[in-house]
Amino acid sequence: MKALVINHLTVAYQSMPVLWNVSASIDQGVMMAVVGPNGAGKSTLLKALLGLVKPLSGTVEYFGKSRRTPGTIAYVPQRSSIDWDFPIQVRDVVLMGSYARLGWFSRPGSAERARAEELIDMIGLTAVADHQIGELSGGQQQRVFLARALMQQSPLLLLDEPFNGIDETTERIMLTLLHNEREKGTTIIAVHHDLATVQQSFDWAMVLNHSVVGCGPISHVFTSSVIQAAFGSSHHPTLFK
C-alpha cells in the first residue's frame, strides 16, 4: 500500500492556479524532500494534503483511504506562522501532540505526560521544559515542534522548511530523530530549500514547479535534467559534478 496517492490535483488561489494537475505516488517509509523554485506551490501542496486548502479538482488517497482521519498526519509548521509570545510552556506544546488521539474533552494522562517528557529529553530540552516557548532559540523552538509532531505517532509526517535558519546541533538532532522515525516506517515529507543537502538527508525527492517535474527515489529524480527543467539551466550546476 502507498502512503500517498495524489491524482490530478489542481489548487488555485483566487482563480490563479498554484498547483496544476499534480499526480504522484509515494511509498510508505520514505523520507522525501519537496523542492522547487520560490512560488512553485510547495507549501500549498502540504496545505492541500492537510485539507487546509480546497482543491479545484483531483483527489488524494491516504494509506489507501480517500479520507484523512484525525491523527493520520502530523505537521511541523513554518516558524513564521507561530505566535512566539503566546503564554505556553515547552512541556505543554509537546503534550499537544497527544490531542488528536485523545479526541474531544479527554485530558492527557500519565502515559501521555511520560511520553512528552521522554521526547523533551530526546530533543535535549529537559532543562527548559517549563520555559515559555518565546524564551527559546530558533533551533530549540523547531525541536519543540518536531517533538510535538512525533508525540502524535502519526504514520505520515509533513514538515514545512524544518531546517530553515537553524543551528547545526538542531539540524543533527532533528535528522537523527527523523531517520529513526523513517526506520519505524513513518513516511516523512519535508519542504526543503537547500538543494545541496537533499541527497545526504533524504532518500526520495519531489521536484515541483506548479506541476510535478519528477517524483521518486533520489537516484532517479535528482538529475541535472530534472533540476534544470524545474529551476532553469543556470541553477546549481555544481550539484551534479
Binding site: L50, P70, I73, P87, I88, M96, Y99, W104, F105, S106
Partner: protein
C-alpha cells in the same frame, strides 16, 4: 444605614463577578487577537436592547439583555460572513459592524425618547453602566451565566488552547475550527451582554482587554493568565464601583480608568516583561 449598604454590597458582588469573568474571557479574546471584536459585539447589542424596550415596554434587565445578546450574536455572525465572502481586513469589518449597529441603536433611542417609553437613566445605564442599579435577581443571573462560561472553558480547555495557539494544528488534530470558534463567539457574547450593566456599551471592551493585557505581562501560561486577569478584573471593578458610588457617577468610566492604570503599571513594572523592570535588570 441598611438602605445604603445593601445596594453597595449587591454592586460589589456584581462587580466582582463581572470583572472576574470578563478577565477570563478577555484573556481568550486577547490571545485570539480579536480585541476589537469585544467592542463590536457590545456596540452591536445596543439596537437589541432598545428594540426589546420598544417591543415589550419592559425595563427588566433580563429581557433587555436577551435582546442585546441576539443582536450581539447577529453582529458577530455578520462579521464572520463578510470576512468569509470578501477580502476585507477583519478590523475594517468590525469597524463597519460597530458603527452600523451603534448608529441603528442611537436612532432607536431617539424613538424611545419621543414615545416616552423610558427615561434617560435607563438609556444611560446601558451606555455608560451603573452598578448601583443591580438587583438580587441580576446577581443570580450573573452567577448562573458565569458558572456556565467557566464550565465550558474548563471542559473544552484543551481544544480551546490548541486553537488559540495554533489553529492549523487544532484543525489537523480533528478539532473543527467552526465549532471551536462558535464556542468562543458564544462565550464572548454572553460575557459582554451581562457586563454591559456594569461598564456600559461604550466602555465594555476595556473590562475585557485591560485586565487580560495586564495579566499577560505577569504570566507564562494560559491558565495563569486567565486567573490573574480574573483577579485584576475583579479588583478594578470592585474599586471602580466603590469610587463611583462615593462620587455618585456611572461605574463604567471609573472601572475603565482603574483597569487602564493597572495595565500601565504592569507594562512598566511586570517582572521579566515590564519596560522599566527589564531596563533596571540590564543596568544591574
Amino acid at each position: 444605614m441598611f438602605g445604603y449598604w445593601y445596594p453597595l454590597a449587591l454592586s460589589l458582588i456584581g462587580s466582582g463577578i463581572i470583572g472576574g469573568i470578563s478577565g477570563i474571557v478577555g484573556s481568550c479574546m486577547v490571545l485570539k487577537k480579536q480585541s476589537l471584536l469585544g467592542d463590536a459585539i457590545s456596540h452591536a447589542s445596543l439596537p437589541g436592547i432598545v428594540l426589546s424596550l420598544l417591543l415589550f415596554r419592559d425595563k427588566n434587565p433580563a429581557v433587555l439583555m436577551i435582546g442585546g445578546a441576539v443582536f450581539g450574536a447577529l453582529g458577530t455572525a455578520l462579521a464572520i460572513l463578510i470576512e468569509r465572502t470578501t477580502s476585507l481586513a477583519q478590523d475594517t469589518i468590525l469597524g463597519i459592524i460597530l458603527s452600523l449597529f451603534f448608529g441603528v441603536g442611537l436612532v432607536l433611542i431617539s424613538v424611545v425618547q419621543k414615545c416616552q417609553i423610558a427615561d434617560q437613566s435607563i438609556i444611560n445605564k446601558f451606555l455608560f453602566g451603573n452598578a448601583s442599579l443591580l438587583l438580587p435577581v441580576d446577581i443570580a443571573v450573573m452567577c448562573i451565566v458565569s458558572c456556565v462560561i467557566v464550565g465550558v472553558l474548563v471542559i473544552c480547555r484543551k481544544e480551546l488552547i490548541a486553537t488559540l495557539f495554533d489553529p492549523l494544528f487544532a484543525h489537523t488534530s480533528g478539532f473543527s475550527l467552526t465549532i471551536v470558534n462558535t464556542i468562543f463567539s458564544t462565550l464572548f457574547v454572553m460575557t459582554i451582554v451581562q457586563g454591559i450593566q456594569m461598564t456600559g456599551i461604550v466602555l465594555m471592551s476595556s473590562l475585557l482587554i485591560a485586565p487580560a493585557t495586564a495579566a499577560r505581562q505577569l504570566s507564562n501560561s494560559v491558565g495563569m493568565m486567565c486567573l490573574t486577569a480574573a483577579i485584576i478584573g475583579s479588583f478594578a471593578s470592585c474599586l471602580g464601583t466603590l469610587i463611583a458610588f462615593w462620587l455618585r457617577m456611572p461605574s463604567g468610566p471609573t472601572i475603565t480608568i482603574l483597569s487602564s492604570l493597572l495595565v500601565v503599571i504592569a507594562l512598566l513594572w511586570a517582572p521579566e516583561r515590564g519596560i522599566l523592570w527589564t531596563k533596571m535588570r540590564d543596568r544591574l
